[in-house]
């Protein structure tokens, strides 16, 4: 469609590079440290999954990348390099220009992602305001994209309003809208959580196929380990505002290094082959994020916590070629077998 745009950024650096991102929310009880030292890379053409439980900061990270944070949020450190430019130090207008152009997003709830009082046609044409071409051409592109995501009879359905479509169809429309502009990076925040399992599979396959066709990268936020395993190339595991482990999907699922990742995988009933009456759990609760944290964030719930865990925040140790985890057990000198 627009030759050269996809490879506009062709140096060796990844498409998106987040380094040491800190983010606080102001609250009456004090500052909530929602993201602490988050680092993440997304290379061109790669699907990166972010997994974590509620409150782990995975959606906050997605919203920070898009610049869609609430007013009480404040980035206190770090950088977000997208195509070599730091989003946090960019003029607001320049940053806005990236949205719906180089950066697109799909939200969890497909109804709130669409404007209920405008037709799909109008919304899909508006979404192309960065693109050249006449209204007619934009409409044709929108119809073609709707056909591609599996909306039957798109020529006539494009005139409909969001409420005339089912949940699965709406999410397909959201995907069509997000990818219509051929973004370099698509951020998907739990796009299948509100859908049934059969639709979930359809949407995951659709995303996978479109990602290959368009050649974009996807940052896929989910708490569902099954969908992450199926869709993603790389995985980052978040816990209480930190990325505690990251690596290629196979390594994370086959050889998890951090005790939290292991516990999380063990909890998934889908991984338990034998029928069992009692399911594994992670005892305790996610720590409060108000005030400063000392030591390892997971130590209260960790079965392997030892002396250094209480005082020192673990550095990131590499496990294998591309995998890394923040755990004192992995320190070469700790002498404790991991």
């Amino acid at each position: 469609m627009m030759p050269g745009v996809i490879n506009q950024h062709s140096s060796g650096a990844p498409l998106l590079r987040v380094r040491g991102l800190d983010l606080d929310f102001g609250s009456p009880r004090g500052r909530v440290h929602a993201l602490r030292g988050v680092s993440l890379d997304v290379s061109a053409g790669e699907v990166v999954g972010i997994v974590g439980e509620s409150g782990s900061g995975k959606s906050t990270l997605a919203y920070t990348l898009m610049g869609l944070l609430a007013e009480n949020a404040e980035v206190t450190g770090g950088e977000i390099l997208f195509e070599g430019r730091d989003l946090l130090r960019m003029a607001p207008a320049a940053r806005r220009d990236l949205l719906g152009n180089r950066l697109s997003m799909i939200f969890q709830d497909p109804m709130t992602g669409l404007n209920p009082v405008r037709t799909i046609e109008r919304q899909m044409i508006d979404a192309q305001h960065h693109q050249p071409g006449s209204r007619r051409e934009k409409r044709d592109r929108a119809v073609a994209m709707l056909a591609r995501v599996g909306i039957p009879d798109p020529q006539s359905r494009i005139g409909g309003y969001p409420h005339e479509f089912s949940g699965g169809m709406r999410q397909r429309i959201c995907i069509a809208m997000a990818l219509l502009v051929r973004p370099a990076l698509l951020i998907a925040d739990e796009p299948t959580t509100a859908l049934d399992a059969t639709l979930e599979v359809q949407i995951i396959h659709l995303l996978k196929d479109l990602q290959k066709e368009i050649g974009c990268s996807i940052l896929f936020v989910s708490h569902h380990l099954g969908t992450v395993a199926e869709l993603c190339d790389q995985v980052a595991v978040m816990y209480a505002g930190e990325v505690i482990e990251h690596g290629p999907v196979r390594d994370i699922f086959r050889n998890p290094a951090h005790p939290y990742t292991r516990a999380l995988l063990e909890c998934d009933p889908g991984r338990i082959r034998q029928k069992t009456r009692l399911l594994p759990t992670i005892p305790g609760e996610v720590p409060g994020l108000v005030g400063s944290q000392r030591g390892c964030i997971f130590r209260q719930r960790c079965g392997y916590a030892f002396a250094p865990c209480a005082d020192e925040r673990p550095a990131e140790y590499s496990v294998g070629a591309a995998q890394g985890a923040r755990c004192h057990l992995l320190a070469p000198t700790s002498g404790v077998p991991a």
Partner: protein, 342 residues
């Protein structure tokens, strides 16, 4: 022994438009049958799972059992007594012995009451003056593993898992024989989901409660239910022992649902059966076998003849409605999961 709960040919019908509009627009049947001839039994201490996509009528079955939605026809017998068509006062006697857990853990708790008042509410409603409601509230908190000082909290101060526990405690307040749990783990994280399900399993073992669990999460069904029923457009398409169905589903819809379950393993080579399209509208039920529009095995006959229930081999407990049931062992690619070594 007679079953604890016996549902026969349950039918729940919703009106889609007023009679005048129906007359004006020439619609002869301004109704949809959300539940269409469902029959099952539940014995003491047993767990039955109802599985299906959104709109398959699972929650409507639960609401009909609890008397929150009067059935259009059919019978619901609890402890041998017919409970459809009872007056609210008569029904109240039965509602002591059956309890419901609703889908939204926080939304189903009144935001203006403390946890303690919420737990005392069932005793007040049923006029149980012989019991000291305050002590009972503390006992219930202990039963579901919450500290006693949680009694002073309000629902908004609870996490999803804690609110679920309060929901379980409320359901247990009057020592029921039956708990109807509508999506008890929807919206919970996997680590918390395990806690809530383990709690239900433990209480079932201790108290011998029967549980009807409604969920779309097949992994949950597999581990905690004895029997399962798969619903499609308000009907059971397959029902039987959970183990059997997972080993050998006979209905193509069950097969598709089982294979749609994403595996938390990047190397899982899944022979995925992607089910086409979406659930048809209840306003336009397909002819013949209602699944034929999405079925990959559908033949000419399927569009014309409604399949009658048939039994799977020698097992009368496993029945299904399909003209061309699946044969042979269904297998999801087996592989050795490397168990995380510590």
């Amino acid at each position: 022994m007679s079953p604890l709960l016996s549902v026969r040919d349950l039918r729940v019908r919703f009106r889609t438009m007023g009679p005048l509009k129906a007359l004006a627009t020439g619609v002869r049947q301004p109704f949809i049958d959300a539940v269409c001839g469902v029959s099952f039994e539940l014995r003491k201490g047993e767990t039955l799972g109802l599985v299906g996509e959104s709109g398959s009528g699972k929650s409507t079955v639960a609401r009909a059992i609890m008397g929150l939605r009067p059935p259009t026809s059919g019978s619901i017998a609890f402890e041998g007594q017919e409970i459809t068509g009872l007056s609210p006062a008569e029904r109240k006697l039965y509602l002591r012995r059956m309890a419901m857990m609703f889908q939204d853990p926080i939304g189903s708790l009144s935001p203006r009451l403390t946890v303690r008042s919420l737990l005392m509410e069932p005793f007040h409603i049923h006029g149980m003056k012989d019991r000291d409601a305050a002590t009972e509230a503390d006992r219930l908190l202990g039963l579901v593993g919450l500290p006693a000082d949680f009694g002073r909290r309000y629902p908004h101060q609870l996490s999803g898992g804690q609110a679920r526990r309060v929901g379980v405690a409320r359901a247990l307040a009057l020592d029921p024989n039956l708990i109807v749990a509508d999506e008890p783990t929807a919206g919970l994280d996997v680590s918390v989901q395990g806690e809530v399900l383990n709690l239900l399993a433990r209480l079932q073992d201790q108290l011998g409660i029967a549980i009807l669990i409604i969920t779309h999460n097949l992994n949950v069904v597999r581990h905690i239910t004895d029997r399962m029923a798969i619903m499609y457009l308000g009907r059971f398409v397959e029902v039987g022992p959970t183990e059997h169905i997972f080993r050998q589903p006979r209905h193509p819809y069950t097969e598709a649902l089982l294979s749609a379950n994403p595996e938390p393993d990047p190397d899982a080579v899944i022979d995925r059966i992607e089910i086409k399209g979406e659930v048809p509208s209840l306003l336009k039920r397909p002819s013949g076998c209602e699944f034929h529009t999405r079925c990959r095995y559908a033949r000419e006959m399927c569009a014309k003849v409604f399949p009658e229930p048939s039994q799977s081999g020698s097992d009368p407990a496993h029945s299904f409605k399909c003209h061309f049931p699946l044969e042979g062992r269904w297998q999801r690619a087996e592989r050795s999961l490397v168990s995380p070594t510590v």
